[in-house]
C-alpha cells in the first residue's frame, strides 16, 4: 500500500481507539470525581466550623460580586448557621496557580469580621512539596485571628509565589467584600 495512505491511516486508527478508551473511562469516572469534590467541600466546611452539626448554606443574592472580585477568584458566598445563630461567612474561591492548575478553597470569616482561615478543597497541578503547601496549616495559620484589615502582611512560601499570590489576593478580596457589604 502507498505510504502516504498507510501512515496517516495507522495513526488515525490508533488515535480513534485511544480516544474511545479515554471516553469510556471518562464516562464512568466523571460522576465519581464530581462527587469527591463535593465531599471534600463538605469536609472542609465541617473543619472550618467545628461541631456545626446542621450546616445550612445560603447563597446571598443581594451581595453579587463585581468584576474585579470575580477576577480575584471569588465564586460564591455562603452563610453558615446552626439553628438561628450565624456561625460565620464562607467565600468559595477558585484561583489559577502554577501552570494553570486551579485551586479551589473556602475562606472563612466570623460574623464580627475576623478572618478565620481557609481550607483548600481541590488543587490541580501544583508542585508537590512547594506549591501544595498552601493547603498546610503552617501556611494559613499565620494569618489566623487577625482583624480583616491586617491580612496584607503575609509571609509567602519560598519558591511558590505563583501559587501563593492568587490565594492571598482572593483572601484580600473576600475580606474587602465582607467589610463593604456585610459588616455593619
Amino acid at each position: 500500500m502507498n505510504k502516504f495512505i498507510k501512515l496517516p491511516l495507522y495513526l488515525a486508527i490508533v488515535g480513534a481507539l485511544t480516544t474511545a478508551a479515554l471516553a469510556t473511562v471518562h464516562q464512568f469516572t466523571a460522576p465519581i470525581i464530581a462527587e469527591n469534590i463535593i465531599k471534600a467541600e463538605e469536609a472542609a466546611l465541617q473543619e472550618l466550623f467545628e461541631g456545626a452539626i446542621s450546616v445550612v448554606l445560603d447563597e446571598e443574592p443581594e451581595h453579587k460580586f463585581d468584576k474585579n472580585e470575580e477576577k480575584s477568584g471569588l465564586v460564591s458566598l455562603f452563610i453558615v448557621s446552626q439553628d438561628d445563630t450565624i456561625l460565620g461567612y464562607v467565600y468559595k474561591s477558585s484561583v489559577v496557580g502554577y501552570k494553570g492548575g486551579v485551586i479551589t478553597f473556602l475562606i472563612s470569616i466570623s460574623p464580627d469580621g475576623v478572618y478565620n482561615g481557609y481550607k483548600v478543597v481541590t488543587m490541580q497541578d501544583q508542585t508537590s512539596g512547594i506549591g501544595t503547601k498552601v493547603a498546610d496549616a503552617d501556611f494559613y495559620e499565620q494569618f489566623l485571628d487577625k482583624e480583616i484589615t491586617s491580612v496584607s502582611e503575609i509571609v509567602k512560601l519560598d519558591g511558590a509565589t505563583i501559587t501563593t499570590q492568587p490565594v492571598v489576593d482572593a483572601i484580600k478580596a473576600a475580606t474587602q467584600h465582607f467589610s463593604a457589604h456585610i459588616k455593619q
Partner: protein
C-alpha cells in the same frame, strides 16, 4: 531470553533511579512522603505494564516511520486513564502528586522501555521487563522518600491510598525539635539522591572487586 535476568536487571544493575538516572523529575519532586513514593511507584508500574504489553502486541504492525508518535499516543492515553482513575478512587493521592501524574507521559523510563525493549520482544518478556523496571523505580523513590520523610518530619507513616483515614502504620521516630527541615525541600532531595547513589556505587564496586579477586584466586 532469561526471564529472571530481565526481571532482576530492572531492580538492580539497570535500576532506573539509582543506576540509570531516569525519571529524575518525579524522583526529586514528590519523594517528600512514603505515601507519595509508593503511590507514584504503583502508578508507574501499572502504566509501564500496560504500555509495554500494548506496544509489544502491535510491534509487528506499527510502521517504522511513525513508531514514536504511535508510542506517545498510547502512553498518553494510558496515563490519562490512570489519572482519571486516581482522581476518582484515590483523590488524596492524586491531589498530593498533582502535576506529576500527567508528567508520567514524558517519563523517559516509559518511552525508553517501549523503544528499547517492548518494540523488540514478545509480550511476556515485555511484561516481565515492565514489572522489573517498575519495581526498580518504586524501590528507588521509596528509599528517597523514606530518608526524606524520616529526616525532614521525624515521622514515618503509610496511609491506605483508597481511604486516607485508614493508617497502616505511624511511627514518631525523631522529636519535632530535632528534624532537619531542609530534607523536605528540593535541596534535601538532591542531597538524599547524592548520598543514596554514593552508597549504591560503593556497594556495587565492592561486589565487583570481590568477584575480580575470586577470579584471580581461581586462576
Amino acid at each position: 531470553m532469561d526471564k529472571k535476568k530481565v526481571f532482576i536487571a530492572g531492580i538492580t544493575k539497570e535500576n532506573p533511579v539509582l543506576m540509570m538516572f531516569l525519571g529524575m523529575c518525579p524522583a526529586l519532586a514528590i519523594t517528600t512522603s512514603i505515601d507519595n513514593g509508593i503511590g507514584m511507584g504503583l502508578a508507574v508500574i501499572i502504566v509501564l505494564l500496560l504500555t509495554n504489553s500494548i506496544i509489544s502486541l502491535i510491534r509487528n504492525t506499527v510502521p517504522n516511520e511513525i513508531r514514536i508518535p504511535v508510542y506517545i499516543i498510547i502512553i498518553a492515553a494510558v496515563v490519562s486513564i490512570i489519572e482519571m482513575l486516581m482522581q476518582a478512587y484515590t483523590p488524596q493521592l492524586s491531589t498530593s502528586l498533582g502535576i506529576f501524574i500527567p508528567l508520567i507521559v514524558v517519563n523517559c523510563i516509559i518511552l525508553g522501555r517501549a523503544e528499547a525493549f517492548a518494540s523488540k520482544n514478545n509480550i511476556l518478556n515485555s511484561m516481565i521487563d515492565a514489572l522489573g523496571m517498575g519495581l526498580g523505580f518504586t524501590l528507588g523513590i521509596f528509599l528517597m522518600s523514606f530518608v526524606r520523610q524520616l529526616l525532614g518530619t521525624g515521622v514515618l507513616n503509610l496511609h491506605n491510598m483508597f481511604d486516607s483515614s485508614v493508617v497502616f502504620f505511624q511511627f514518631n521516630i525523631i522529636p519535632k525539635d530535632f528534624v532537619i527541615d531542609i530534607f523536605t525541600q528540593p535541596t534535601g532531595a538532591f542531597l538524599t539522591l547524592g548520598f543514596l547513589v554514593a552508597i549504591v556505587n560503593a556497594i556495587t564496586s565492592a561486589v565487583k572487586k570481590h568477584q575480580a579477586n575470586k577470579k584471580v584466586e581461581a586462576k
